[in-house]
Symmetry: D2
Subunit: 294 residues, 4 copies
């Protein structure tokens, strides 16, 4: 089918390609003219036959909201907007209402898969009305991985449910990454273990811990044994923070997810103010020597 | 090849079967006569042609040590013992030395896969000399899953390295299980999400969190939506405790693994003494009402 | 000096008494007529000589905001409102602006001390302009404990700083309570220790861990050795949740505070959905038996 | 009374002084001749009138065990040895048995107070028989702080109970230090707060979190606002590690104590291998850029 795609970054660019390979007519818009198919959002709207479908794939927050507002201006009743970005699910209802006032439908789609999605497909979690989701189904069918529908796609609930489940997915992802990495650090610290990479590689088959992340860690260690070329400095893109905030709202204990988030905060500090205070306290009561900062 | 197998419990019984299907001659010994092929360890030794290989698959700790001691009596120089149980790796060197005094070789093998190993194969992590491991390789080749050798088998290092890496594997496993389960609790707590099972099922393909454990959780939730029939009471078999203890020895921070272990301890308490004290404190300074225990 | 006091609950009632003992003229208002000095907020305003000071001590959130709005109606330019409740500090600026439009000043005051404050004084952390704080200083001087000013009172910064620091105070309090309680549980679990209460009592003098909370725990254990009469069910009044949320905003790692908050969530669950899922997973891969829920 | 004191380090030196001020005759022995009262352990034994009391205050582990062994040689039946060092409580029974074979009594004494003990007294937790503890009571009475006996001294139980409770004391201490320090980091991160030191100082009176550690933190921040001169690198002396290990043995969940221990491990790493692996994973699946290590 025909669709517009706003945002041709790392994710959107590949999605345009995958959708085209799947036989869809995709008109992409990006502020970078050299990769954009049209020059403005208005031109995008005009190039699509009504009723239109427009997929939004831009940074979450202010830019997504601004894009939704602009689409409300250039689209018409009966059209459908899908937000496939990493928006906080609490943005979905306001976005849906904004579009709904003009009779435009709204679906939120959590998209997992990163740079591998082009060839392997994207795991999809969507929220919206049955009608809106059904309408976009041909697009979802092309984006999602091959195999059984229920293994790579879920209509999780009403508007917001897609991004909520994607957020939880990412919160889990944080903790999984920490779990494997703690184990890696132990393997690397123990003299008995000749090659941590070989151990983690061997977990690929038959073990309880086998997973895609386990295989990626084996791959990363193969490319850079000892990870000598990489710093522990780790950004976070928001979903982890939101997951902990929503867990607090829901009164759900999430110590491993929260701990993984805090580890990322810590990784970005030159020194830890908390530990400076601990060291200072230790010095105060015990006369324990402290290391001067340099 | 020919081998003896001591211990025909949940794991050993299936391994005998998988090895036989693979063309090996397995003589099994168990204290339960109805499933044992021979009546004593001595009879087991006599029924094998020297140089013998005997695989030990009994509960870790005292029973394994006792079995190793008995094998030292009935086996001869040039024979080989493989401990495939969940022994603490610190037991391996004493066991190897005990057998080594009689000229008997020793290999420690961490075995993952649980009840699925019979059909899917067992992930294997082994420790020992190159010579001893090479000698047992035909057995490992049958036990391990099909596919590339390095994806289901690793010779991790000298004696002890097999059980050490298996211990770390299980430590990671604890934290992975907690990570998915925290996410499940959030999905179950949020009204927007129609069916947590469908969400977790959909993560099977294309997502970053896809794994064997993720699929097992989807399966468990399909069998018992809401997990109404299961209690949160969770045992631990030792590897998690050992992982944290070894992490302390190695000065490796493992907050998610340790937290997962502590959650299991907590799950087995009727009420938490820690939280009783917290509630008592809160009552002391704030006059906050407390719940009486019943 | 003369002041109005809105809210005569557990905290406000005692504060009225302490202020009167200190020679202030306090006119209290509460919806419960039997303890109120006036019958309406309007009557309260009329009974005070301009420029007035009114201390608000009602539940945080909607009730505080509603009270501030009503005060904006009945007070006049030049008056001063102090919010001494446990408001989230993010409410302070809106409240200050609302009152500021009418020329009414605003100070936020974090108040610690609980039921002990009447006799021992209240620890005070306030936010506001130098002028407003100076004006209310006679009140603060009576409420705070005897001793050096800087040991029981701080003008922490502009509007909001008082409640922010009180929030952090309470976040720390959560973790301190958990720390002592984990230690108590260990003492109670170890046969060598004859009487955990006696140990904790003995920490009152000379030790590194001596504190008011340590003394309260000793007191609680003296009143109910073994804490047999108390449940671990523990409420939280909001500050702990806010502390973790603000830590996330500030990118400050707070694992012990967050863990203490999550322990409270867990304490209020009959069974843990997270642990039910962990037990279900363990059963899936290992054939480990599970406990049926009842 | 008369006693021998082995070990005149940071703790022992001050204890000799406090005991002498209390009217005891103390003969101190140390390998550093310039501060030692006698030249050998044998000379120490000879200079004391039987039945003798010898207090051992040397580094825990091998040095303490060696000292106990030497004392078994030079002392006689009816004498009494007190180990006041930071020994692991599991060393106490072997030490008691070693001495007991020669009819020498044994008491283990956990001593808290650090460099402040000379003037303020030491918090004491002791283990041993009623008879042995009674015999050493005049020494304990001088070492402990002034005030009620039960507030600075506890006979916690049989041999081992003193060091066990001291170990738990230190485990709690770790978590308390982290709790205050997390709060400090939040205060320092928030622009609204003018001076974290003033806030923490103000908690000294009337608040729920007032404690000796709180006062020490205020003092440390007064001496070095911002802690610019101190590194977060923090050693640990063993008790924290032992506390977590014993908690595992007792199946007691101690997430805040364990987390505080792990934070210290982390503070001593130039970069975190765990976080390097997390960053590598993030790069693998998301194409997220990583920071190169330098």
């Amino acid at each position: 089918m025909q669709l517009g795609l706003v945002g041709l970054g790392k994710m959107g660019f590949n999605m345009r390609e995958r959708l085209r390979r799947g036989g869809h007519e995709v008109i992409g818009y990006d502020t970078r003219a050299e990769i954009s198919d049209v020059s403005t959002l208005t031109a995008l709207a005009e190039s699509l036959s009504a009723p239109r479908i427009v997929w939004v794939m831009v940074p979450s927050g202010a830019i997504t909201t601004e894009t939704i507002r602009s689409l409300a201006d250039v689209l018409s009743a009966g059209d459908l907007v899908i937000d496939g970005g990493n928006s906080r699910y609490t943005d979905d209802l306001p976005h849906a209402e904004l579009l709904g006032k003009k009779g435009i439908g709204y679906v939120d789609a959590g998209v997992s898969g990163g740079v591998w999605g082009l060839t392997e497909g994207y795991g999809l979690m969507v929220g919206g009305s049955d009608e809106d989701v059904a309408r976009a189904m041909p697009i979802f069918d092309t984006l999602r991985p091959e195999g059984a529908l229920e293994d790579g796609f879920v209509h999780a609930g009403p508007v917001g449910a897609g991004h909520f489940t994607k957020m939880v997915h990412n919160g889990i992802e944080y903790a999984l990454m920490t779990a494997y990495s703690e184990g890696y650090e132990m393997l690397a610290a123990e003299d008995l273990v000749r090659d941590p990479q070989a151990v983690i590689q061997a977990w690929s088959n038959g073990t309880v811990v086998r997973s895609w992340l386990q295989q990626l860690l084996a791959k990363a260690l193969k490319e850079d044994p000892g990870l000598g070329g990489i710093s522990g400095y780790t950004e976070d893109s928001g979903e982890g923070r939101w997951t902990v905030e929503e867990a607090i709202r829901l009164r759900v204990p999430v110590p491993t997810i929260a701990g993984s988030l805090f580890d990322r905060f810590r990784s970005r500090q030159d020194d830890s103010p908390t530990m400076k205070a601990v060291a200072a306290l230790r010095n105060q009561f015990g006369g324990h020597s402290v290391k001067s900062s340099q």
